[in-house]
Structures are given as C-alpha cells and as structure tokens.
Subunit: 175 residues, 2 copies
DNA sequence: AACTTACGTCAGCCTTGTTGACTTTCCAAG
DNA sequence: CTTGGAAAGTCAACAAGGCTGACGTAAGTT
C-alpha cells in the first residue's frame, strides 16, 4: 500500500545546480539508524543460532572469520581489527586452539609473533557459519538488486572509522 | 587507483532477458559481510563514547531511542522490539527511571500496562546521543549520494527478520 | 471465582568486554 | 653484549548485559 512513502528519502536542492546537496532531515537519518539496528540483528541471527549449539559466541565467529580471511595473520593484527584487548581475544583464541579449530604457529622471521591458521576442522566450522550468513546476504542482495547493492556498500564504507576503512579496502582489493 | 575494482559487484545473466539473476560470488558476499561488521563498529562508536561518560551502555541507548521514537510505548512492546528478556530490560529501565531520564505511567485503559516516556532530562540525553549518531549518518549519506542511500536502505530492509521488518515499516510510515 | 496477562523482582549463571600486573621470548639499537 | 621495547601469554578481579527459573502482585477476562 503505502510502500512509496519511503521515497521521501532524499533529493537535490531546488534550483541548486544538481550538486550533491542533500536534504537530510533528522527523521530520514533516524530511519537509517533504525535500519542499521534491525538489519544488524538479522545479520547476526543465523550464525548466532549455529554458534550456540557448539558453546561458542560471536567473539569466536569474528576471530574465525578473520583468520579464515587472512590466514597466517598475527595476534596483534587481529587485536587491531577486532578492537578488543589481548586478554579478551586470548580467552577466545585459547578455546579455539584447544578445540582444534585454530593452529598457532611461531613466526619464522620474527619468533615473537604467532601466525594463526584454521585447521581443517576450523575451516569446516567457518564454512557452516559463513554459509548461513551468506545465504541471508544473497537473499537480500537479490531482493534489492545490483544498483541497491552498490549503494549499500558505498554508504557502509563511508560510515566506517578511517583506520578500519583502510583495513577493509585492503581486504577488498585482495590481500 | 584501484577504486574501480569494487565494481565487480554484480551483474545480470548474459543472455538472461534482463531479469534479476545476479552473479553473487562468495567473495562478493563476504565483502558485504565485512562491510556490515566494520560499519556497525563506526555506527555505534560515537554514542558509545558519550554513554561511557555517564555510566550507561548500549542497552540504555537502545531503550531511550525507542521510547523517544514511540512515546507511551509499553514495556512488553519494548521487549518485542529489543529482543531481550524482561529481567534484562528491567535492569536498564530501572536505572533510567531512578536517574530521572524515563517516566513510567500506569495505563488508564489497561492498568496492568506501564507507558514509558522520556523526561525533559531524558530527551536532552537522547538528543545528545542521536546528534552524534546522526552526524555520522549524515556524513556517510552525503559522501555516498542519494542513489546510494536508497540502495542502502533497500538492502538493509531485505536483511531484516520479517517481524522486525514489519515493525520497522510501521515506524517508517509514521506511527 | 478462576484464569491469564503485564509487570517487577530476587537469585544465580554465562559470555565477553575491561584493567592491572607479571613473565617469557625475541628483535634491534646502542 | 647489553639493554630497551615489542609481541605474546597468563593470572586475577571486575562490570555490563545477556540468560533462566521462580515468585509475587495488580488488573483485566472468562
């Protein structure tokens, strides 16, 4: 019915030479804030359900995701990405290593560093988690269409803190 | 430089009559997942900094946001939106009421219900929190442009759980 | 009168974050 | 070679914010 009431989203200034001057009312921004809140709930819901069947939490998922993404990454690198203390990360890493999901390897160039890898078992777990999460992403992408997806990524990127945006882009361009 | 490497995002099937058949590789979906993760960090960073100066956390922010949004909402309504237990919400609500940020009013039609409102003090706090959050949203929206914003909202909406999407749309159409 | 709903609250538990302190290992600069 | 500092691991203690279970009370509903 009133599905088009959503298109009060934005516009260019009247008589404003077509430049990028948006009318962003507090209400429109509030809707965006709520969209982030509700969408993030959906975003984490599927993996959360799987995780709780194996005594892990979101913290484990995050670690596993980024170790999968950057095999051989170091602990301090991971600390920077995840933005937690080493004590907090260590607890999570400890249980992942003890359960045989993650392997920690002393650095050859720099012996202080530990390089982190997923074991076969860990890769399997990562796959089951990310399959669930990707399924929802795929459905959302399909429903919204390619143009929307492009915009989605642009806004999210603009929302990141600069340091993390750099990290994100490094991943993006394949590292 | 390689900013156009991001446009491997999606496409329609070759020879596929222009329908909505997207090529969504696991890699592309993974980028979306990471974008959500990093963007959400940015999204909460500013209010988090303010909250910690007043002994509140994200849980308080969420409650205050939705009470501001729907003044007079009931406890059980809020429980549904936030997806937490009443014990958990009550702890947060208790402190907000004790500190004079929230007012709880016995329902006149149904005396079992408690209707929640922000006090003046509560409204002021809400404003300071949402000003910070909106500033980032506004910057991101400006940077990405109106078309991107439209897509951003579409994808997020498609990512929500159906129940929350309904709630979101009810808010959206002004309730 | 009996049942149900909405709310509040007590007690206890878990995860995941925090700080602070201390140790071991190891690279690198003086 | 020594020393300073970085990377990592660990111990202890604590807090926020989730959870379950149980119980009580007020107020509608049948």
């Amino acid at each position: 019915m009133s599905q088009f009431s959503g298109s009060q989203l934005s516009g260019t200034a009247p008589g404003g030479g077509g430049e990028n001057l948006l009318f962003l009312t507090d209400e429109q921004l509030r809707k965006g804030i709520e969209a982030m809140f509700f969408a993030y709930r959906g975003f984490t819901a599927d993996p959360d359900r799987i995780l709780e069947t194996m005594d892990y939490g979101r913290a484990h998922h995050r670690a596993v995701h980024f170790i999968h993404r950057s095999p051989g990454t170091t602990v301090s690198n991971l600390l920077g990405i995840l933005g937690v203390t080493k004590q907090s990360l260590n607890r999570v890493l400890r249980s992942l290593i003890d359960d045989g999901h993650v392997r920690s390897e002393k650095g050859r160039r720099d012996g202080r560093e530990r390089h982190l890898f997923l074991t076969e078992k860990g890769e399997a777990m990562e796959k089951s988690l990310s399959d669930a999460q990707r399924a929802r992403m795929r459905a959302a992408y399909r429903a919204a269409g390619p143009v929307a997806v492009q915009g989605f990524r642009q806004v999210l990127e603009a929302m990141m803190d600069p340091g993390l945006r750099d990290y994100y882009n490094r991943l993006r361009d394949g590292a």
